[in-house]
């Protein structure tokens, strides 16, 4: 059996009876058990997956109504709440936390009869770009296990890439879906802010983050986006998407599309091979009839400082609730004074979370709020205006997803600033709220390179169409593991 089939193929095979859900789920579980020791994509697995698969098979056999996922195995980043399963955020602070409710995206998937196969690894509280900052240890890149899979949705990207599921949900605060998608050679989409409900996504920087689908093809990504998007009565920040089917008209091509190449993201600091792959992709798009021209987004040079100022401030506040009193690890409160207790408990945050919380307390503090936090909010607004201006001239923007190739595990772990700077190509989408997608484009010495498209707010359809067109020009090898 081929576990590398797409969602579309899976649905066909289940429908025509050449495959049962139980067969596929069992094989997937076998695969997981076999490859996990070398890649560590998952934090926990769904022990009921096979019995859930049997249930769906039974319903199919009885010709009862079954949701559109037909038992498809989907993995979930472990910062998205799943009722009855642990949701740890890869942190000791939540190592025993079981949410009493499902995130809206999980309810959506379950109502379409998807099987939540397991919860995937991440950088603690989604803060990182390598999945090395997980309390449960790093995930490894299936293309070369000495390398990081990217982050923070590293486990999700690995699970999709290594055929441990058909698709996954990650979350993208500053590139956390797109970066690991690029590093692991899968597709990852960051939707428009508000298109997908955040109810049940454990907040890191709530004004900019979104849950995003990850899959092996653009079409599969569109399929998952259909299920998880739309207005949610549990999240006041969601917006009405209207009547739209993202899987339709994917093959309209890019002829006549105006594509802006973001100058600040292809020049200095970009790895030569990444730059070359990007140029190649642009030429391909031109052959397909797109008009490609450079566009300068002047404030991109401030985007890393802006992003980390805002994200850290929100993180400091969002993570304040982890005082280990209502939930957390075993550590009795008796005998301690309140402040002493929570300071001691909070020493169990990992290094990256600790750094960002200190930053997040500092930049909005009295005396510095004007210099850092308020200034960052204004620069964010400026970045947004520049993006809006650019979309008056272009239908899409393009840039490499990451300025660099995947790096070795341990290589950058003690140099936080150098890691932050690697976010430069992804964070503008979060700061301005627009959608962006990363698709696998090339392999260089066995390491993947991803290309990223941006579209204007709510233009996911245009975004997916361009990604689909470029995807059709690629011919990438199967995962070696």
């Amino acid at each position: 059996m081929n576990l590398g089939i797409t969602a579309t193929q899976y649905l066909e095979q289940i429908k025509n009876g050449s495959l049962t859900v139980e067969e596929f789920i069992s094989k997937t579980m076998e695969r997981i058990n076999k490859v996990e020791p070398s890649i560590h994509a998952y934090i926990s697995l769904n022990n009921d997956a096979i019995s859930q698969a049997k249930q769906i098979d039974k319903k199919l056999k009885a010709k009862e109504n079954v949701g559109s996922c037909l038992g498809m195995p989907i993995s979930i980043k472990d910062n998205i709440c799943t009722k009855g399963m642990k949701t740890t955020c890869a942190s000791k602070m939540l190592e025993n936390f079981v949410a009493p409710y499902d995130a809206t995206v999980i309810s959506n998937l379950k109502s379409q009869d998807a099987i939540i196969i397991g919860k995937t690894n991440l950088d603690e509280f989604a803060m990182g770009i390598s999945t090395e900052f997980s309390y449960f240890g790093p995930s490894r890149n299936p293309w070369n296990t000495d390398y990081v899979p990217g982050g923070s949705s590293g486990g999700s990207a690995v699970s999709v890439s290594a055929l441990e599921c058909i698709a996954s949900l990650g979350s993208d605060t500053g590139g956390s879906v797109r970066n690991p998608a690029s590093f692991c050679s899968v597709v990852g989409l960051k939707p428009t802010y508000g298109l997908v409900s955040r109810y049940g996504l454990i907040s890191y920087a709530n004004s900019i983050e979104q849950v995003g689908p990850m899959a092996r093809t653009v079409e599969d990504t569109a399929f998952i986006l259909n299920i998880i998007s739309g207005i949610d009565q549990h999240d006041n920040t969601t917006i009405d998407k209207g009547k739209v089917d993202y899987t339709k008209e994917l093959d309209v091509g890019v002829e006549g599309k105006r594509i802006g190449i973001i100058s600040e993201m292809i020049g200095e600091g970009v790895d030569k091979q990444v730059a070359a792959a990007t140029s190649k992709a642009i030429s391909k798009l031109q052959t397909l009839g797109a008009e490609c021209n450079e566009v300068s987004l002047d404030s991109v040079k401030f985007s890393v400082a802006t992003y980390y100022t805002i994200a850290a401030t929100e993180a400091g506040s969002n993570l304040a609730r982890y005082d280990n009193i209502r939930y957390g690890f075993d550590f009795d409160v008796e005998g301690y004074e309140f402040n002493a207790y929570i300071s001691k408990a909070r020493k169990n945050f990992g290094p990256e979370v600790t750094r960002r919380m200190i930053l997040g307390s500092f930049v909005p503090s009295a005396g510095y709020v004007g210099k850092y936090f308020l200034k960052a909010l204004k620069v964010r607004s400026k970045i947004k205006s520049e993006i809006e201006q650019a979309f008056k001239k272009f239908d899409l923007l393009i840039a490499p997803t990451s300025p660099v190739l995947p790096f070795k595990i341990g290589e950058k772990v003690d140099d936080p600033l150098s890691l932050y700077l690697l976010d430069i190509n992804t964070i503008v989408a979060n700061l301005s709220g627009i959608p962006a997608i990363s698709i696998p484009y090339e392999m260089t010495n066995g390491l993947p390179i991803g290309i990223q498209f941006f579209a204007n707010s709510m233009q996911e359809k245009t975004l997916l169409q361009a990604a689909y067109a470029l995807e059709k020009t690629t011919n990438l090898p199967g995962v070696p593991i």
């Binding site: 209502r326 930053l359 307390s361 500092f362 510095y368 850092y372 620069v379």
Partner: protein
């Protein structure tokens, strides 16, 4: 230039104990120095990015119970109270 005590104070506000964690102070200092790049951005005339919604889209004032036994899913309780450390 940011003072080390100010970083320690910020950490205290957020209940992060920096004892034996000198390296964090240095790393945060270095990152803050990088953030000074924002001084070069001219954005004074900019406002803030916000979302808006109309009043009638807000939740209706209706009581819907969640689950009376929710408390049993938390740790650290005494009787039916949640147990927290003492205040001085």
């Amino acid at each position: 230039m940011v003072k080390r005590e100010e970083i320690v104070h910020a950490a205290n506000l957020i209940k992060i104990d920096l004892k034996d964690h000198e390296k964090y102070i240095e790393q945060v200092e270095k990152i803050l120095n990088y953030f000074d790049i924002l001084d070069n951005a001219s954005a004074e005339s900019e406002s803030f990015v916000t979302q808006e919604m109309s009043l009638d889209k807000l939740r209706d004032d209706k009581y819907v119970p969640f689950d009376e036994k929710l408390i049993t899913q938390l740790k650290n309780y005494k009787g039916t109270f949640v147990k927290a450390p003492k205040m001085i």
